[in-house]
Symmetry: C2
Subunit: 482 residues, 2 copies
């Protein structure tokens, strides 16, 4: 049963399992105690710290273990912000950071700090220039992920680290998604990661703070982990996390190149899906990306229904569509990229995924999408158009979201109360009836429409005129081009 959601949580690596078992018998005592069980636990902890530090590319005394990647991010952000308080309280982060960064930023803002979000292009990438432009004398911290967890796009971490260093501003790199494939590049100040993303057990995050970075741990003091992560260490999990990370590095250095192999499988998905399925947008950077992750969105598809269909067929994938989130809003990553969110599918291949699993996925996907579309009563799909489906690595098309001052006329489609992908489907159904050069107005109260109607226009080469508030929701105006 193919599991294609390694970016959420990877199955336990065999080395992690083995190390966990071994350390259950040796690693349950308190490493702060002086008796033999404590000394044995301390040795295990020290060895795990050394192994993990080597894989991270830092000194052992710069690295602490936290109970999760989320807590590493929270501690890393608040510890740095507090130490920089006299400099200022501006926190800069990209618009596509993990929710743990966004939620820490919200808390910072609620406590009187300021937060500036750095926009990304249509591939999900910030530019170093935009980061440089956002730096201010009161900038306390910049947060930039090494690679995006939803679309796989790598960020220009090295360049940003360099300009941060020049400006004397610390850079926190959330390396949760990339650490399985190699250390985060560049002269970062703080780095965070999460064990269960690389096949280690859950319950272990990494927080590295480079010497020379001012850092004031927040919250109640605690003696463990240099005062940076309170609570009794989960030593068996820590040992297993470190052992599996070291095993990944060793395999990458000596064995067949697993990253390259997965990259070929992902390339296959990137090329074949738009050929096999009509009206698909593959999102994320085509070149500068994680080896194992690919995301695409299918027009006129209900993401939740597609996930269920794929699950029924034996494939576990995730989605950033609004209907798969508890808040009924599309993924903030897809929103920041300005790309289609409906029918969204993220594939992230675990280490060792057999090629046959990917082949079979490509076999079943077209029928899965078709069956969801059929149930929704989608207009006959246009022929697959692979040329129009990809995105450019650079450039970042502007979504035509500027407000139009002109009065629009013509057809009004009331889709109030209807959820994604219905508003877009209704629009697609009527567009042929609209005279060329005339407009159609879609009324919708669905959060996904704000993103998906402009995205549809881009994909279908129609003009998105703009949006304005309307009774009960928002009016989205589209002009028929051809």
């Amino acid at each position: 049963m193919p599991y294609f959601d390694a970016a959420s949580s990877a199955p336990l690596h065999p080395v992690a399992r083995e190390a966990l078992l071994a350390s259950l018998d040796e690693g349950w005592a308190d490493p702060a105690r002086l008796y033999r069980e404590g000394r044995r636990a301390r040795l295990l902890l020290d060895a795990a710290r050394e192994a993990a530090a080597e894989a991270v590319g830092c000194r052992p005394d710069e690295l602490v273990f936290t109970p999760s990647g989320t807590q590493a991010v929270h501690s890393g952000i608040f510890g740095t912000l507090a130490a920089r308080r006299r400099v200022g309280r501006q926190l800069l982060h990209s618009a596509v950071e993990h929710s743990s960064v966004l939620h820490a930023a919200e808390a910072h803002e609620a406590a009187g700090g300021t937060v500036t979000e750095i926009a990304v292009d249509r591939t999900g990438r910030v530019t170093a220039g935009d980061v440089a432009a956002a730096l201010r004398p009161d900038t306390a911290l910049v947060c930039l992920q090494s690679a995006n967890h939803e679309v796989g796009t790598e960020q220009p971490v090295e360049e940003v680290a360099e300009l941060c260093q020049e400006a004397g501003v610390p850079l926190l790199v959330d390396a949760a998604q990339s650490l399985p494939w190699g250390p985060a590049p560049g002269a970062w100040s703080v780095m965070t990661a999460s064990s269960h993303k690389w096949g280690g057990p859950p319950g272990v995050g990494l927080l590295a703070v480079r010497k020379g970075t001012r850092f004031s741990p927040q919250g109640p003091r605690d003696e463990r982990e240099s005062g940076r992560s309170p609570g009794f260490q989960d030593l068996p999990a820590i040992v297993a996390a470190a052992a599996s990370l070291r095993a990944l590095r060793a395999a990458a250095g000596t064995g067949p190149d697993e990253a390259a192999r997965l990259r070929r499988l992902v390339d296959l998905i990137r090329i074949r899906v738009p050929e096999l399925v009509p009206d698909v947008e593959v999102v994320g950077a085509p070149v500068h990306r994680l080896p194992h992750l690919v995301t695409f969105s299918c027009l006129y598809v209900d993401g939740e229904a597609l996930l269920h269909e794929l699950d029924r067929l034996g494939f576990s994938v995730s989605s950033g569509s609004s209907c798969t989130s508890s808040t009924l809003t599309p993924s903030h990553v897809l929103r920041a990229m300005g790309v289609l969110s409906e029918g969204n599918v993220r594939i992230s291949l675990p280490y060792g995924t057999p090629e046959t699993d990917v082949d079979r996925f490509l076999e079943v996907l077209p029928e899965a999408v078709r069956s969801v579309r059929d149930r929704l009563g989608v207009p006959t799909a246009a022929a697959p158009d692979p040329a129009g489906a990809g995105v450019e690595e650079t450039g970042g098309d502007e979504t035509g979201a500027e407000e139009s001052g002109a009065e629009e006329s013509g057809l009004v489609l009331d889709t109030l109360g209807k959820r994604c992908p219905i508003p877009v489907i209704e629009l697609a159904k009527v567009i042929d009836e609209v005279p060329v050069g005339d407009t159609v107005t879609v009324l919708s109260d669905d959060e996904a429409a704000r993103q998906d109607i402009p995205a549809w226009c881009t994909m279908r080469d129609q003009e998105f005129v703009g949006e304005r508030s309307a009774p009960g929701g928002t009016a989205y105006v589209v002009r028929r081009r051809a």
Copy 2:
């Protein structure tokens, strides 16, 4: 090799080990996901929550899993204080709470809150009357452990819960030490516990918040665990924690009474140690106490040296003596009780400890203490005096620490620069030279002397006149009685 430090961390229970292994294969996926691996993880998580809630005595939706007992305490305290902010900001706690409570209280005070410590008697117990007297209209929260982690004394949790309920003030019960033996009694509002104390794996704490208790989680928001504990759940550890707690309860309900068996072993230690070793004080409540824990202190003994000696002999125990702490201050628990801190040994028997281990401990202890005393050049010890060594359950002798206005005369012992137990040893060496009714003044800059000189006076039936600051340290004045 007998391990007698279950109160720090208990060896993994066989059921925990088994459940951990089983859930490694089923429990690595994200329980928030909709595909089969996620659903399977969710089922495991729900079952673990139900089992743990039953053992705790609360509803499953009142219980969340945290990464440690420490984090459960921190979240429990700050979540309750924040929700009660409009009522007031006074936090009440006993003087003998776990450091996680004390550190949270410090942080609360640093943030502008007020903290009131409730004193304990010589057995380490608060009285409900003292708690009632400390309640104020602005009291936001009362924290009281179910039983003390260093001396085993049980607190009057039921009584205090009742009076808190009458006053409309929430009570947080830290049940870390007692939960292995049964649910915390009384109508508490918030309860915390820690898995590795009952033989579950590290990495799991419990936080229960009873319905009707106002609670506002602090820190960045997070969707997991009802927003009360951020970060990806360590599901294999959670499953193992719940399974082992359930196994303990089942064994207690049907099998031989392990608590009663350990209590008998502890009683043996309580009785035999003062018979076998001269100048010992057994501390903590003799009746209302944890079944598996006993603490005693040995006059004229360096705690660290005794720990090393016992470790060499194969026994792992802990100590609250100043020389075994990184800060060179005695345990705050022993200090609050006003009992001797030098040569302190805590024994906490893990589940299943064989009686022969205890017998052998009693065999080797006298020689271990003697060898440490010999190395320190201790005056010939008095005959063992078991009658004088115990403490009363009630009453709480006052330590004679009041300041004396009268000028003292006589001998001055300069022990500046010398650490515990040297000042007390020097005092014992000279006391016979002091005329009855006359005083001897001990100059010391050792933090432990503040506690151990009065405790020595109580044990030796000498009068502690008082202390005053002196150049380079403190002058402790003792009057010879007989």
